[in-house]
Symmetry: C2
C-alpha cells in the first residue's frame, strides 16, 4: 500500500520550512516503513509567477489524488497589487473549498520549554492547551453575492455575505463535539447571536447537537467576549468552535498567547479525513531566504498529518518527541530565542530533529 503526500512549499519562508519537514518525513517513512511517496506542486505566488494563476489545474489534480497535503505558506507583498481573483490567497482558499476541507483544527499549546516567550504572565498561560475548531469552507469567506457595486447615488458599495446552512453548521459542530470528547469534554461555541441572524441559527444547531453528546458540556460566548476572555483567562477553554471569520481572528489571537507562533501546527480536514496540514504562521516575506525561519510548526504539522490522515500514531509521536528533545537541548531559532538558548538556523533545527529521531 503506497500513500501519496503532496508537498506545497508556496511562498516566502515556505520552501525553507517544508524542506526540513520533508527530511523528517523521509526519515520516519524509512524508520516506520510507512510506504509514503512524495510529490510537490506550485501554489500561491510561486504558482502565479510560473503559470499566472494561484491554483494551477495540475496542482488541484495532484491535491485531489493525494492522501494528505503539507503546505508551507502563501502570499507576500510582491503579489499584493493583484486583483482579488488572482492573489496568492486564492490558491489556499481554492484548495480548501475544492477539497471541502471544512474542519480546521488549530491547537494553541504552550511548550513548557518556551513559557517565557509569552507576553502574558506565566500563571495566566502555563499549561495552556486549547483547540480551536474553525469552519473553513463556508461563512463570509465564500458567501455570495460579493463584490463592489455602483449605487444609483454614483458612489460604490462593497459587500460580502456571511452565510451558513444547517448542515454546514452541523458537520463542523460534530467535529468539535468529538474533539471535546477526546479532550477535556468542554466545548465553547462562539457567535454573535445578539446581532447576527446567521449566528442565531449557528447557536440553535449547536444546542441541538448537544443531545447527541451528553458527556460534553456546551457553552456559548459572544465573539467580543471570547476575544476578551482569551486575554484574561485562556485556560478556561478546552475546545472552541466557531465560523470561518471569527475562527481566523480568534485562532491567531490564541496562537499568540503562547508567544511562539513558530511552533503551532494546523490541520484542515474533509469528511474522508483527507487533510491539508500547515503551520499557523504565514509566509514571513521579511525573513524569507535567510535560512532563519522556524521549521518546527511545519514539522509538527507533518506529525499531525501522520496522526489524522495517515493513521500513523507511532510515527507522529516519534516526531513530537524529537521536537520536544531539541527544545530540551536548548536549540532555538531566532523567533523563540531567549537567554541560555543556542541560536540555530532553519537547517540546523531540521537536522537536530532528524538526529533526535
Amino acid at each position: 500500500m503506497s500513500r501519496n503526500v503532496l508537498l506545497l512549499p508556496g511562498d516566502g519562508i515556505g520552501p525553507e520550512i517544508v524542506a526540513e519537514a520533508e527530511k523528517v518525513l523521509n526519515k520516519v517513512n524509512d524508520q516506520f516503513s510507512l510506504g509514503l511517496s512524495f510529490d510537490s506542486a506550485l501554489v500561491g505566488g510561486a504558482a502565479i509567477d510560473e503559470t499566472d494563476t494561484p491554483l494551477p489545474d495540475e496542482t488541484l489534480e495532484k491535491a485531489r489524488n493525494a492522501d494528505a497535503i503539507l503546505l508551507g505558506a502563501v502570499g507576500g507583498p510582491k503579489w499584493d497589487g493583484l486583483p482579488m481573483a488572482r492573489r496568492p490567497e486564492k490558491g489556499l482558499l481554492g484548495l480548501r473549498s475544492n477539497l471541502e476541507l471544512f474542519a480546521n483544527l488549530r491547537p494553541a499549546i504552550l511548550y513548557p520549554q518556551l513559557a517565557s516567550a509569552s507576553s502574558l504572565k506565566p500563571e495566566v498561560v502555563s499549561g495552556l492547551d486549547i483547540l480551536i475548531v474553525r469552519e473553513l469552507t463556508g461563512g463570509i469567506y465564500f458567501g455570495q453575492p460579493r463584490g463592489v457595486r455602483q449605487l444609483e447615488s454614483g458612489e460604490r458599495q462593497g459587500y460580502n455575505t456571511y452565510q451558513y446552512t444547517e448542515s454546514e453548521i452541523r458537520r463542523i459542530g460534530r467535529v468539535a463535539f468529538e474533539a471535546a470528547q477526546q479532550r477535556g469534554k468542554k466545548l465553547c461555541s462562539v457567535d454573535k447571536a445578539n446581532v447576527l441572524e446567521v449566528t442565531v441559527l449557528w447557536r440553535e444547531i449547536m444546542e441541538d447537537l448537544k443531545r447527541e453528546y451528553p458527556d460534553v458540556e456546551l457553552s456559548h460566548m459572544y465573539v467580543d467576549n471570547a476575544a476578551m476572555q482569551l486575554v484574561r483567562a485562556p485556560k478556561q477553554f478546552d475546545v472552541i468552535v466557531t465560523g470561518n471569520m471569527f475562527g481566523d481572528i480568534l485562532s491567531d489571537e490564541a496562537a499568540m498567547l503562547t508567544g511562539s507562533i513558530g511552533m503551532l501546527p494546523s490541520a484542515s480536514l474533509n469528511s474522508d479525513k483527507q487533510g491539508m496540514y500547515e503551520p499557523c504562521h504565514g509566509s514571513a516575506p521579511d525573513i524569507a531566504g535567510q535560512g532563519i525561519a522556524n521549521p518546527l510548526a511545519t514539522i509538527i504539522s507533518a506529525a499531525m498529518m501522520l496522526r489524522y490522515s495517515l493513521n500513523e500514531e507511532s510515527a507522529a509521536q516519534a516526531i513530537e518527541a524529537a521536537v520536544s528533545k531539541v527544545l530540551d537541548q536548548g536549540l532555538r531559532t531566532a523567533d523563540i530565542m531567549s537567554e541560555g538558548g543556542r541560536k540555530v538556523s532553519t537547517r540546523e533545527m531540521g537536522e537536530a530533529v532528524l538526529n533526535a529521531l
Copy 2:
C-alpha cells in the same frame, strides 16, 4: 444656555453605576456653572419590561433632543430568549442608528495605579494608550438582506450582509485621521482585504484619505494579524480604525489588555458631535444589585461627554483628576482590587470621587 443630558441607566448594573456618575455630573454642573439639565428614560431590558419594546418612542424622542446621552448598559439572561427584534441590544443599536452615531471612540489606557491587574507582563503593557475608532452604524450590524431562509433542499440558511459605501468609510476615516493628528500621528487601518471585497474598498478609501493628512502615517493590517499584534506588542499602536464587527472584537480585546475593563469609557458620536457615552463593560447581570460594580468607567464616560459633546474641557479634566486621586488613595472596587488596596462599594467609590472634586 441650558443643555440637556439624557441618562439611560438600562439593565443589570446600569442603574447603580449611572447613579454615581449622575452625582458627579451634578457636582461639576454646580462647580463650573455648566447649566446642564438632566432627564432619564428607559432602554433595553428595562424598557421591554415596562413597554414591551427595547427602544420606546419616548426614549428615542428624548435622545434626539438631548445634547448628550449617558448610558449604563443593556442586556441580560432574562431577555435572552426573545426574538432578535425585541432583544435589549436592539435598543442600543436603534439609538446608534437613529442618531447616526457612526464614530465610536474606545480608548484602551492602562492606569499606572492598576498596572498589576493586567494579565500581560508589565513591560508589554506599561504606559499603554491606544485609541480604537470603530465604525458604529454600518457594516454587518446593519447590512441588508439578513435573516434565516428556507432553501429548496428543505434546510435553513442564516445570512447577513457586510457592506460599506465609500462615504461611510470616508467619514469614519476622517474621524480617525483627525484623532491621530491630535495624538501620536500613527493610524493603523484594520481590514481583511485579502479575502473580503468590502474591505478592499475600505483600504482604497483609507489610502485615498491619506493625501489629506500628510502628517499622519497610515498603515494597514489584516484583522487576524491585528488580533495577534494586540497580544504580542500592543504599544506599537496609536490609533486603530476599523469597521463595526472587527471593531467590536478588537476593542474588547484591547480593553482587556489593561486588565481593568471597569475603568474604560467610550464615546459614540455623530457628525454634529452629539454623542452617547457609555462604559466599555456590559451589564454584568451576575453582580447586579449588589452594590459592588465599578462606577469609574461610567464616571470617566461622563468626563468624555463633557469634553466631546459639551465642550467643557475644564470640567472633564476635573473629573479625570478626581478619579486619578481616588486611585492614588488606594480605593478599589472588587474588580480592580489587589493587595494593599482598600475595597469599596459602588457608592463609596462614587462618594470618594465627589469628595476629590
